[in-house]
């Protein structure tokens, strides 16, 4: 972050269009990667398995939602249901003896298929009505998952996830689970980074900006909407499956209820629509901030000698979470990703601010 653009001249298109055109960016990515790879040995295992691992999985899910919301501009208020479909398919597959990798991919494909059903609403209406219909589909999916015994194993049931075997190796230790989550998150991130450099990504952006304008320049908007829904559902389905296998270890319908969909939306909005690093920030913010605020409030209350009821303490994180969404929309609607970009653009040419392009 603390680097400048001075002295970097791109003399051909290949270097200019590289994934990271600035050498300093490449170095930063390598350092971050090394940090991520060495995290199991530098962090306490509690921090790793309760904070970092879910953060990585939720980030990949948020990136998937960002694909549909930030890139293709289609509202999806039922993303948790899609994750649930992937998760339940994968868990059932693995319980029935399908190898883990195939079961997870099957989960993703199943999520894709159902995700295209969501897309049929998108082919007919857009904007608010698309949001409401996907929200309603989330309720329907919730109901189906919890009321069909073949899926959930009966009402109020939890479905135990079997042990993971990746390429024949049993994955049981926390460190190994962390690497699985990290690996998936990296795959999704690289996919998303490359998406904006490909024809597909540009077509999605064209559809987002104005679908009939996209049609005029030869982008088949219906086709690309379906592709966007299918791709993002695939990512969501696999993220859901990995969430169950690495973090929850058992699937219940509540893990994929409406409020989870809204939480994912909050991650994308707080992080910034169409921003990849923003999805990382947003997921971290929404996952960690309420808990941190809660301990802060409890600490302040203790300091001031005021007694807060257990019930009040249980609800304060939610209030903080709602307030965070409101404050972000008022202060910086493009989210944390935009804030990071502003800072970065400022530092790129610092101290010659007038040289900014």
């Amino acid at each position: 972050m603390l680097f400048r653009q001075a002295g970097i001249f791109h003399t051909d298109y290949a270097t200019n269009r590289a994934l990271f055109p600035l050498p300093a960016d490449r170095w930063m990515i390598i350092i971050l990667l090394l940090l991520a790879l060495s995290a199991p040995f530098t962090m306490s295992s509690l921090l790793l398995s309760t904070n970092v691992l879910p953060w990585l999985v939720w980030t990949s899910a948020a990136l998937g939602l960002n694909l549909i919301l930030g890139w293709a501009g289609q509202f999806h208020f039922g993303y948790a249901a899609i994750m649930g479909i992937g998760a339940y398919t994968a868990v059932h597959g693995a319980r029935n003896g399908i190898p883990w990798e195939i079961a997870v991919v099957l989960g993703g494909l199943m999520a894709s298929v159902i995700g295209v059903v969501f897309a049929f609403a998108a082919l007919r209406v857009k904007g608010l009505y698309l949001a409401l219909s996907t929200l309603a589909l989330q309720y329907v999916m919730d109901w189906v998952i919890s009321h069909v015994p073949a899926i959930s194993g009966g009402t109020q049931a939890t479905l135990q996830a079997p042990g993971m075997r990746l390429l024949g190796q049993a994955v049981t230790s926390e460190i190994a689970l962390y690497y699985v989550a990290l690996g998936w998150c990296l795959i999704v991130t690289v996919f998303m980074l490359n998406l904006r450099r490909t024809a597909l990504g540009r077509a999605l952006v064209a559809v987002r900006e104005k679908d009939f304008a996209a049609a005029v320049i030869g982008v088949h908007s219906l086709y690309y909407k379906l592709v966007a829904f299918a791709t993002s559902s695939f990512i969501g389905g696999i993220s859901g499956a990995i969430l169950i296998f690495t973090f929850y270890r058992a699937a219940t319908p509540e893990q994929f209820a409406v409020n989870v969909s809204i939480e994912l939306l909050a991650m994308v909005i707080v992080g910034g629509l169409g921003s990849i690093i923003g999805s990382y920030f947003g997921a971290a913010f929404i996952l960690l901030m309420p808990g941190l605020m809660n301990s802060l409030i409890a600490w302040v209350a203790q300091l001031m000698g005021a007694a807060l009821g257990v019930e009040a303490l249980a609800h304060i994180p939610h209030a903080v979470y709602g307030a965070l969404i409101i404050v972000f929309l008022l202060v910086e609607p493009m989210g944390l990703g935009k804030m990071y970009n502003n800072l970065r653009n400022y530092l790129l040419v610092w101290p010659f601010g007038y040289a900014r392009k």
């Binding site: 109901w143 009821g309 939610h318």
Partner: protein, 295 residues
């Protein structure tokens, strides 16, 4: 088919549906004036119920004093929400506005839980529990009162939209810029619609609170309110009443026959399916304007 059962399901469904209309009317009022789909209407309904109880419990006021006081408080709350949260979002993409109302929903719900706790509190309106007999049909008295209040509010709004202020609101809903140019204070009109909608939400909160007690589940009325509002057409108050009636009957009858088959809980499914089908078949609802953007 058992006709008595059918009739009972249908007529109780109709009453319940009219009480859903109370929630839907709030959504319609706001959508009509500012094109903001208020997903916080459920939370505002719940807040209304809690405010009534807080005034009644805190100052020891009887309910018939507490309810008008709560209506006045919620009027101000509505104005405040519009001023603080929604006004700055005018003209922003709809996703931001939706997210804002969802954020408000979460915030209002969690804050009321923090202040008043999650235990279910009864709201004693003094309506007797003994059912009303209509021939062989049993009617719940509270539902009857709710239905009457819903229709009364509908008539009141019909009259209100003929007054000077009501015409101003209609002008705003027609065209923002044109209203500005003829000297209408659009901001004030939108704030008024939020305030009115909060008042309607409080009424809904009181009536639903007397049916099922005041607790967090009042906020779940949102889905029903949205379904009714969309079915009736998002900018039609009369549509909200008629759609509430229809949806209530449909939900009552369908879930009455479905519940034994699937083991209960089919009400939300029926509502969600109705919402989806409405949007797919007739997005502008029964009486909404046809200018909804289609693809």
């Amino acid at each position: 088919m058992d006709l008595t059962l059918f009739g009972e399901l249908a007529i109780n469904g109709a009453m319940t549906g009219l009480m859903y209309s109370l929630v839907a009317m709030g959504i319609v009022l706001i959508y009509k004036s500012s094109a903001v789909p208020n997903l916080a209407q459920g939370a505002m309904t719940m807040l209304g119920g809690y405010v009534v109880l807080a005034i009644a419990g805190g100052f020891g006021a009887p309910l018939w004093v507490a309810i008008p006081l709560a209506l006045a408080t919620m009027f101000l709350v509505g104005v405040g929400i519009e001023r603080v949260a929604l006004r700055r979002l005018a003209g922003r993409p709809i996703i931001m506005i939706l997210m804002m109302t969802l954020g408000l929903d979460i915030f209002v719900r969690a804050t009321s839980m923090t202040i008043w706790g999650g235990t279910n509190r009864p709201m004693q309106l003094g309506i007797s529990d003994t059912p009303l007999f209509l021939g062989p049909l049993l009617l719940n008295r509270t539902y009857v009162v709710g239905a009457v209040v819903a229709i009364a509010l509908f008539v009141l709004f019909l009259l209100f939209f003929r007054t000077r202020m009501g015409i101003v609101l209609r002008a705003i809903s027609d065209d923002y810029t044109a209203s500005w140019s003829v000297g209408i204070s659009v901001e004030r009109g939108v704030a008024l619609s939020w305030a009115l909608s909060s008042v309607v939400a409080t009424t809904a909160g009181v009536l639903w609170g007397s049916v099922q007690g005041v607790d967090q589940s009042l906020a779940l009325l949102l889905l029903k309110g949205v379904a009714v509002a969309v079915l009736g057409g998002l900018d039609s108050i009369g549509g909200a009443i008629l759609a509430g009636l229809l949806l209530g009957i449909f939900e009552g009858v369908a879930s009455g026959y479905l519940d034994p088959l699937v083991g209960g809980g089919s009400r939300d499914l029926v509502i969600a399916m109705t919402l989806i089908l409405t949007i797919l078949i007739r997005p502008h609802g029964l009486f909404g304007r046809h200018d909804i953007e289609r693809i």
